[in-house]
Point group: C2
Chain length 358, copies 2
């Protein structure tokens, strides 16, 4: 799978770099910003999912590159706006869009000072994401050129607004809204729904578009399309549950981020919320007291203690079991299709997302 | 025309209010926000332009309501993001989206305090505009249901990204970028290009979509489509030149806003920049000194003096002449089409946009 993934990434890098849509964007520093995230490379997991779902159903992958690039650019605009919302300064080791735009506004010929440059950097980053959203739609609308029926393309565009737009953005908004409430007032089911929307919907879109290209039919109720959508959504939710699990139980050197961050930020993960439901009143109080502390207080001793609490109340096991169940569901859905190389890739992709250590 | 405009507005209000896309948006306060601006009514000039261009070419207006609603919702998402960028508090006498969302975040169950509520209100307003952009695309993608060919719909969606997305957002970005530079360093041609993109592109889109619906063909190079696009763009640029002219020479009681605002904000209008080019060095210095002052200093005497400077150097006349020329071009383009009631509406629309007093 990893070699196949690298092939997809190389091809998608090229499709995105060669697409002419951004060329006439003004001013020039905004044009550069629109191309920035989509050009930063990365694993291109969503395009691979789309291409392989298309191939699984015997479709011609050459017809799928435009839609695959569209889903990747779509993913990138959501990152640009997420980074504004989270006020993040770094993405993949490089300054975020609004930080780079802040620096552009602070330089010639604008020479804005600190606070104003900061504000205008955010403003331009809002517009950068808006432009990328239009670019993604344009990439998909152009898929008629590769021989797909216009009915398929119009239906795929409609589905992109429903899943990539309505569902994903609702998920992002729920995530922000959840972060503003005390964890003990949140039902774990609310978090699961947020994950399904924020992470699951775009993977579902990628899989469905792959099926739509293969079938040259955009009806989301087609059995193959629905099954591959369900498969991808299950992978997405399992991926996020695993991510939250590794955030506490993972190996810091493998993860490349500090274990304990989720506790410091009081991130309402399913793992934490389930523990708050299952634990004794005493442990519950201790767990709540372990949130929102200064970074220096997350000593190996405190983290070991939190891990023990999460294990003893059964929350850790319960989340790990959910993750395994979702992965099994995803594999079972894939196994209803006849075997081919694409199916092998997708099965390996499932393990990669749901059983990873980093 | 005004009765026909009211009919369009009433029908568009209904199409937008009844569309199901926003129903499943979460959380509920964000769903309300997505419906807010598009539901506030208003003149619905862009839908009228689209419907009438369709009718001018003998098209069935019933096929045009979906695209007309799409253009109106598109216009509204750009307003939501514009209001964030300008930090405006009021739109049509009602709090702006980010202000309403700030209040939602300050209330139960979030109870965020002032600064944090402000920040999160902006964040949710970014997502509100993103959702409306997806909604607009969805409305257009659904136009296949009214009997349009899928080729037409896919092509129309592509054009919406080029004009409503790339061109309009570039115009908005240029507007922000221009506001960060000293007026004396700006070429009036840069401002004209900004206006063409920011105001002209969406009117061009509305007119082109009307033609595409009538012809059931999305090729933007079709002669009727191109001509109606040129007509609408000319109206848009003339409208904005007139707006800037009225900002200095208009009647405050008719306009409902303070004459002098543009000077206080040092808005780089074509009118001001042309005066800076044409005036004597002394008057040029005086004009520059009349910018960026506290509101109380814009006395009737100072404003009368500025008006005299703008007239004496020929800038006022030159901008008024440009406006007349664009209106004449728009009318001439319309008059190449056989007369019907829709053409009468469009001719009156041209006068309404380019010769208004308020």
């Amino acid at each position: 799978m990893h070699a196949a993934l690298r092939d997809v990434a190389a091809k998608i890098d090229r499709v995105i770099a060669e697409d002419a849509f951004p060329e006439t964007i003004q001013p020039a520093f905004l044009r550069d910003s629109v191309r920035d995230y989509p050009g930063r490379g990365g694993k291109r997991l969503r395009p691979a999912l789309l291409i392989w779902c298309c191939g699984l159903l015997g479709g011609d992958p050459r017809r799928a590159w435009g839609p695959a690039a569209a889903v990747e650019v779509w993913h990138n605009w959501t990152l640009v706006h997420d980074d504004i919302i989270d006020r993040d300064a770094v993405r993949r080791g490089v300054p975020t869009a609004h930080c780079r735009l802040r620096d552009a506004v602070a330089a010639e010929p604008f020479r804005q000072d600190g606070r104003e440059a900061e504000r205008q950097g955010m403003n331009f980053a809002v517009l950068c994401g808006d432009l990328q959203q239009a670019w993604a739609n344009h990439l998909l609308a152009r898929a008629t050129e590769s021989g797909l029926r216009a009915e398929t393309v119009a239906g795929a565009l409609r589905r992109m607004q429903e899943l990539g737009g309505r569902a994903l953005i609702s998920g992002e908004a729920l995530d922000v809204a959840l972060s503003l409430r005390p964890p003990q007032e949140i039902d774990p089911a609310e978090v699961l729904e947020m994950i399904r929307l924020k992470t699951g919907a775009l993977l579902r879109l990628a899989a469905e578009l792959g099926a739509m290209v293969a079938l040259d039919d955009a009806a989301p109720e087609r059995e193959e399309t629905r099954k591959l959508g369900d498969f991808a959504e299950a992978c997405g939710v399992a991926f996020q549950l695993r991510d939250d699990y590794l955030g506490i139980f993972g190996d810091e050197t493998k993860l490349g981020k500090a274990v304990g961050n989720d506790l410091r930020e009081a991130k309402p993960t399913v793992l934490l919320l389930r523990a708050l439901t299952l634990a004794s009143p005493t442990v519950r109080r201790e767990l709540l007291a372990s949130l929102h502390r200064p970074a220096s207080e997350y000593t190996p001793e405190l983290l070991a203690q939190v891990r023990q609490w999460l294990r003893e109340c059964g929350a850790a096991e319960s989340v790990a079991a959910d993750c395994l169940k979702l992965a099994a569901k995803a594999r079972a859905l894939l196994n209803t299709f006849p075997p081919n190389g694409y199916r092998d890739n997708l099965l390996e992709f499932t393990d990669y997302l749901t059983a990873r250590e980093r």
